[in-house]
């Protein structure tokens, strides 16, 4: 109901101020990350259902492509799983906002015949395995973290993404935080120089290799592991708890990380390895990129209203599709950021925009 009323109000306001703008079609284009594509297309579908004059076209071409197209201004908004680098932000003269939309988690998946319990991984185990220092499943270090589990004498086959990917960014960002050696030898990026292992193309490439190779371990998006029923392990977080990756524990990771982040953040923050007790440690935002100073007020307004809706009412579609919703504190900050967008020196959103809807939604 609230949505409908807000829409009507918005339409009325728009109509009274500039009748032509309200009638004419607005076409927004965006491009970028593949990970949030299902939720973005759901949002577009739901949002434009009640607003037939708006058309939003999102192409999932990958985060790198999203950033490049955004920098070239060939799209209205970009989308990325990894934040823009400082040099990239300097190249657009700082004219960019990172707006987090949903959260994703990355889980270690494995295939071990005869092991039915959910394995437990410590940060040291994960970095040791992916650095190629722990090479057999019967290693005493794995056994120590998994009391009561009989581990087979089998080579560990590491499987990683061969294509550049935000998933890899989150995974290597986590390993860089928990292992100084990983940071020194490998580092964090959408594609890295892997010390060991086989490369699979896409989540499905990693998953199918893991599922067909006894002794394999890899990493995929939580959504993907759940939908395809692949065994994934618990990961020990900074406060010493072994946490199962769920939508709730992913949202908790963001909430935990935000506790120490100042309100003025530009959201280019890593939320891996947070301190909160119930947080799953390998999680990340996915962002939409939009210009801070828009050239066309009407189009900017349409985009901001869509993002406002997506980060409020739209969040309920997130869980259905396996994404973790933003914690309340983040939504609050997102509202502040969206209000700062201006066109021709004047704010795009009116001062009281979304006041009631935000509080109820």
């Amino acid at each position: 109901m609230v949505t409908v009323r807000t829409t009507l109000l918005a339409a009325l306001v728009a109509f009274s101020s500039s009748p032509l703008a309200a009638q004419s079609e607005i076409r927004l284009t965006g491009a970028g990350a593949t990970f949030p594509y299902p939720i973005y297309s759901k949002w577009v579908l739901e949002y434009t259902k009640t607003r037939p004059h708006i058309e939003i076209n999102y192409q999932s071409i990958g985060s790198g492509g999203g950033i490049r197209q955004f920098m070239d201004r060939t799209v209205d908004f970009g989308a990325t799983d990894g934040p823009m680098a400082d040099s990239q932000i300097a190249a657009v003269r700082g004219n960019v906002l990172h707006i987090p939309t949903v959260l994703g988690a990355v889980v270690p998946v494995y295939f071990l015949e005869g092991v039915s319990q959910q394995l437990r991984f410590t940060p040291e185990l994960l970095s040791g395995i992916f650095l190629g220092q722990i090479t057999n499943w019967n290693d005493s270090r794995i056994a120590a973290a998994n009391p009561g589990v009989t581990l087979p004498n089998r080579d560990i086959v590491v499987v990683h993404r061969s294509d550049g990917s935000g998933t890899t960014y989150v995974w290597t960002d986590y390993l860089s935080k928990v292992s100084p050696e990983w940071l020194r030898r490998v580092g964090r990026s959408t594609s890295v120089s892997w010390p060991v292992g086989l490369g699979g193309r896409g989540n499905e490439g990693v998953a199918s290799t893991v599922r067909r190779t006894p002794g394999a371990i890899g990493y995929v998006e939580l959504v993907y592991a759940v939908q395809n029923r692949i065994a994934y392990g618990l990961v020990r977080n900074r406060s010493g708890q072994f946490v199962n990756a769920t939508l709730a524990s992913t949202t908790a990771a963001a909430a935990g990380a935000m506790a120490t982040i100042p309100a003025s953040t530009d959201f280019r923050i890593s939320i891996t390895d947070p301190a909160a007790a119930d947080a799953y440690p390998i999680a990340s935002f996915t962002w939409i990129l939009l210009p801070r100073e828009a050239t066309d007020a009407t189009r900017a307004r349409a985009l901001l209203e869509f993002l406002w809706w997506a980060t409020h009412e739209g969040q309920r579609f997130a869980t259905e599709l396996g994404y973790a919703a933003l914690p309340a504190r983040v939504v609050e900050l997102v509202e502040q950021r969206l209000r700062t967008v201006s066109a021709g020196g004047r704010p795009v959103l009116p001062a009281g925009y979304g006041g009631r809807a935000a509080r109820r939604g």
């Binding site: 990958g62 680098a85 061969s162 294509d163 550049g164 594609s191 120089s193 892997w194 086989l198 190779t213």
Partner: protein, 332 residues
Amino acid sequence: MTSAPAAPPREARPRASGEWQALRGVSRGDVVYRVVLTALALILPALLLIIAGELVVGAWPAIRQFGAGFLTRSVWDPVVGDFGALPLIVGTLYTSLVAMVIAVPLALGVAIFLTEFAPRWLRRPVATLVELLAAVPSVIYGLWGVFVLLPVLRDGLWPMLRPALSWLPFFRGAFYGPSVLAAGVILSIMVLPYIAAVSREVLLAVPASQREGALALGATRWETVWTVILPYGRAGIVGAVILGLGRALGETMAVTMLIGNRHEISLSLIEPGYTIAAAIANEFAEAATDIHLSALVYIALVLFGLSVLINAIARWLIWRVARGSAAGSSAL
């Protein structure tokens, strides 16, 4: 463009230039026709040059930073922005070599069987079925490879062959499935229809008189094939093999699904590797930095150069073997 559209009759007396003009420009339509055709014919070579130029421009930052050392170094680290393409080049050539070693004898066997030995009613259906292999999309080959070929190789064939082969340097290491061998086998299946179909056409073009002559001299059918028919069509067969090789070098999707995508040089067939086309497909969309992107364009340029080189060698080979007997070279 070497021969004029209308050659004058030989016995004609020399004409004044005005008369020539009148003859050549019989109608305005001819002129337009020629200009349009010339333009169309020049579009493709121009496109080739534009592609090469674009590649050089895109690769320029990487060429300046890494120079020729790019071709001989093995590091590929997007995090620090240091790139070398040797494992990719070796992997590309190695998988193609494996594919050709498997595919060429098979394809020639198919072609010889279909033209010389098969009963007439069997020829058309088998030829059609072999050619149908070329119609299967490469991602389907990739999927088939993941679901059927890898398990068969790893769990079926390898345990049997391991005791006999593991001493060879080509079969060192642990076999997890995705490997140069798997990629080579899938490539061989993919290029087989091209080689088989073209070779078959070439062998069909061998005149019956050649066969009859050999048989009349008392050759067995095997000797006829080996000493008369194959040598007669060798130029065309070399062309068929090069056509297959070209396809193997550039194949992307099926290879990346089966090769393991590992930036390392290994002589072992059962270890993972990487190819140029696979690396470009994998990393292009998410290349994080400009130098990463430029390095990818640089390897694309290398692949382009490799293809040109191989085609040049093929031309030269055909030119050499075609002297004397030219049957089938028309099939190119």
